[in-house]
Symmetry: C2
Subunit: 239 residues, 2 copies
């Protein structure tokens, strides 16, 4: 059975303006690979309601899972929850379960649970909450869409809360070999290897270091023995 | 006149598997912002021909410019040029201009200009070449799509070659203020400020440092005097 598929949607003007360098996509990619879920596509859109709604609908329809990051805080530019409700035709209001979590947290902290913070308890009616051990304000899952925070420490904690509930496939395994020759010298034999081992994915990632050309060859697949066989052959060819 | 719009398409399995953390999107975002081009969307797709062709067609139709990175080297997994040709209904073959550049380069280097390297001279028939001062193999522009390498040093050099030929708008200006309070305490006044200065984009980026909550407030726009006015008001409110 093929692995389940996934997409990621990063939401935030700050990524597209170049102010912030996203790190959540790279983190999620690694976690999904370990869990046996194939990340097929990632997108970044601005804090713009029509753009977010369209991407939510398109990606959730096309893949088994959609993971989002960003836009679920208390400020005026946090519009993700409303967009998810709109995309799935659900109502959205301050929910008792999320309200209770946040109310208890701010009481214990001695900080005001004001109207802005109560906005973080606005959750689509049929969503299930995603645990946030870092700063309590929950993420949520609506159908196959997992809505998480943009702050990396919170995003990572939410991914850890969500992944155990998702059925993964065979983890993607990989081996790599660094070859100290220009990629153009490797391309011929590498193409033959890729044709012979068409069940594996063979990637070539060139680099230039201290004036010398080289490439990291990465062989990926779910069958460790096949990867071993391809890697042995690769090593022989370039010995 | 509004600024021209752009999208970016990052092509490569290695980003989606979590092996490599993309840096080209962040670099391009910053350069476009300085140049007065609004990056509206970014996508990452795998080394998969139908996925690449569909994204090329969709994004080039929707935005004024599309910038791509990755998949133009000499190996079997480098399929971007063929996908661009297919997306725009152009033929693709080894072109004399690109061949001559590469031939001279490899002769001077004393390295073999073999069949794999000649693949890098395969360029769609109506493309114009993008200069690559780092490793010579050119990028190219087809209609409004600028096709560039994935290796960051080469990508950056190609962006420097392409941008001067693109008419930009007013550069996006920004000012930021760090406020040492929880985002929930800022959200109310910030929402009012955003409503008053609706011609500006006001973003709030929370952080937690040494146990204390804070947020960086970023005000962006093309009119420096308006940003000054909003920033003055912001500073007054939180003085």
């Amino acid at each position: 059975m093929p692995n389940p598929t996934a997409a990621m949607l990063v939401i935030g003007d700050e990524i597209l303006s170049g102010r912030t360098r996203d790190s959540n996509m790279h983190f999620l990619a690694g976690e999904l690979t370990k869990h046996g879920v194939d990340l097929k596509e990632a997108r970044v859109v601005a804090d713009n309601s029509p753009a977010i709604v369209a991407a939510l609908q398109e990606l959730s329809a096309r893949y088994d899972h959609l993971f989002t990051s960003g836009g679920i805080g208390p400020t005026h530019d946090d519009i993700t929850a409303d967009c998810v409700a709109e995309a799935f035709g659900q109502s959205i209001h301050v929910r008792d379960d999320a309200f209770a979590l946040l109310d208890a947290y701010y009481k214990a902290e001695g900080r005001e649970f004001n109207a802005a913070r109560q906005r973080m308890a606005r959750i689509p009616e049929k969503a299930t909450l995603i645990d946030n051990p870092v700063s309590i304000a929950p993420g949520f899952t609506v159908e196959n869409v997992h809505v998480m925070a943009g702050v990396p420490s919170v995003f990572q904690a939410m991914v850890a809360s969500v992944l155990p509930g998702i059925t993964g496939g065979a983890p993607l395994l990989s081996q790599s070999l660094t070859i100290q020759r220009g990629e153009g010298d490797l391309a011929g034999p590498l193409g033959e290897l890729a044709a012979e081992f068409s069940d594996l994915s063979i990637g070539s990632y060139p680099f230039q270091k201290n004036g010398a050309f080289g490439a990291n060859i990465v062989i990926r697949g779910t069958d460790g023995a096949r990867i071993d066989a391809a890697m042995t052959k690769l090593a022989e060819v370039f010995a």
